[in-house]
Subunit: 351 residues, 2 copies
């Protein structure tokens, strides 16, 4: 008795996600992800938007991030546990699901730890494409943890940077990053301080992991014309930038209701003006207006980006061997006969 | 390159859930589920309780139901699409996940379509154990759909009923139910009307599927001393009982904030007195007080019951072959080296 096709949900394991990325090439994946996000940001208004549903505990947070465009429904499960690395675990792990709104049936289950790193990088690069100064080709990467190489490769593939200037409080992290970016075509520069890293950079990306008010960038480190891509401040109490920088910047956000709680702008008054990035992407608002302006993308990660990433995976696995069918849904011949299905399965397994 | 044990999450497919039920026996499963729910209802106050997160569409609803006891976090994905049966699909499908709060790592992924039917039946029987009149042994089962046999078997295993009186607007559903309950030890009576079904019944269970204000039970059908187990009214606009019955009954609910929106009591004033079932189970409130009282369990299903069911499955599969390991979590040797893991996997797959 094999389950019918209605019972089966395509599942993309970590192994298969890696195979898919190698099959397509990471640059193509990052560009395709950015395209899917851009498409969804253009139709932002039709999405069902709710802030994430968070369950906080002393060690971290577990979140569910649902959204829907009316035809598909998606959600991501994601945790954030800063102390996990001490026991050899990931700070952030994630998986996601896409379902058909008309029937409620899941149509894709996938790992999202890798996929989130990829979509976060694609999102950053998409924002930089719209906000960074013309001709930007040098990025400072402050914080050389799990996100750093993905950020660098996305900025290379989508914005066209050719140089990354790396700094981390832990030189081992920087060495790992240098090693991983060898052969990428990027010119990689090790820096001994954040000040050194930002020298000559057109884009400054901050991505550090401490859950506390930190000042990774102080006011005097940020010159005119720079685009700041602030990734690490993404939950209450966790910020990376000095408030003075925020006050000098034009600030762009994903979803203000969420960013005011979780982003860098939690340090500002609740009515401090910000521009929603979807408005820039869809031509309803202006992005960078002068070459000397400081633009800041206060990134916290929003459910629609995960939705776009899930859509990308669903399309990308078609006709490939990079998914397996999971017997996740009970599918009796007669939908009202769930008990009969259970009974008949006993007869079969005893036979 | 096989994933490390940290990457793997035990997964219980529909097939394996059926095997597990047959391995243990359905009576044992129902009793164990009721025991797990009872345990969790006794420590109700320590749970993180939020109403379900619902995404409504013209065809139905998709919901996420999260909760946590501080050590474990669980959520259920569940849809409700009444028109699904027309295209041979289940009205309700579900899956669930349990995670370790300390690390955020998932520890169990399981089908929950079957498991929800089992836990809903166990919950009904647990409520009846505390509320039904002493010596109750006859149940009317109005609505003979997917839940009917599970409800009957749970009332048999946990409350000790010996007779079910079946009625459905569709005689085919009743025949299916009669067929499935043959050999269960229950005396099964086909009835031609709801009025006939409730004759002599100590417990009346209603479980019909229409998403509209319906009156499955009218006032004159409910005599004194009866316990009503109302399952079908479980979302806004969907009710089964005449308001007059509610006004004559002592009403018991799972979580008032949710039941006032979704349950039968959405027909009453928002301050109509109700008793929380956990208070009865933990001895803080009285259940049935007189033999002539009408008790009503206005059941909508709450996240804690799913949490109990997930705990049950996690314990029950230990040492059995009824789960498989899913490569759901990326697990690099160095948690900060997600990109390196991806790179090295290419080298391996090319080799």
């Amino acid at each position: 008795m094999t389950p019918s096709s209605k019972a089966l949900v395509p599942f993309v394991s970590v192994e298969n996600m890696m195979r898919l990325v190698h099959h397509l090439g990471i640059e193509t994946v990052l560009r395709d992800l950015a395209d899917h996000i851009e498409e969804d940001f253009r139709r932002w208004e039709l999405f069902d938007k709710t802030p994430r549903v968070a369950s906080h505990s002393p060690g971290g947070v577990i979140e569910l991030m649902p959204t829907s465009d009316g035809a598909l429904y998606g959600f991501k499960y994601v945790n954030g546990h800063p102390r996990n690395t001490r026991s050899g675990l990931q700070t952030v792990t994630a998986f996601g699901l896409l379902a058909d709104v008309a029937t409620g049936y899941p149509v894709l289950l996938t790992e999202m730890t890798l996929l989130t790193a990829l979509r976060t990088a694609a999102m950053s690069a998409l924002a930089a494409k719209h906000l960074a100064p013309r001709g930007a080709h040098v990025m400072a990467m402050i914080g050389n943890g799990a996100q750093a190489e993905f950020q660098s490769r996305a900025m290379q593939a989508i914005v066209g940077i050719d140089t990354v200037r790396l700094y981390d409080i832990d030189p081992v992290a920087t060495e790992k990053c240098v090693r991983n970016l060898a052969g990428s075509g990027l010119c990689v520069v090790r820096c001994g301080s954040p000040e050194e890293a930002v020298e000559g950079a057109h884009i400054v990306t901050t991505c550090t992991a401490d859950k506390q008010y930190a000042t990774i960038l102080s006011d005097n480190m940020v010159g005119s014309g720079v685009h700041i891509n602030a990734i690490g401040g993404d939950c209450p109490g966790k910020t990376e930038l000095a408030p003075a920088i925020l006050k000098r910047s034009s600030i762009f956000v994903e979803y203000p209701e969420q960013t005011r709680i979780e982003g860098e702008i939690q340090q500002l008054e609740p009515d401090h003006p910000v521009t929603e990035l979807w408005e820039v992407i869809s031509g309803k608002a202006r992005g960078r207006q002068t070459p000397s302006e400081i633009t800041l993308f206060d990134s916290v990660g929003f459910a629609i980006e995960d939705f776009s990433a899930l859509r990308f995976v669903k399309a990308a696995i078609q006709g490939t061997p990079f998914s397996e069918d999971l017997d996740l849904l009970a599918d009796p011949d007669d939908p009202r006969d769930l008990y009969g299905m259970l009974q008949r399965s006993a007869a079969v397994s005893e036979a």
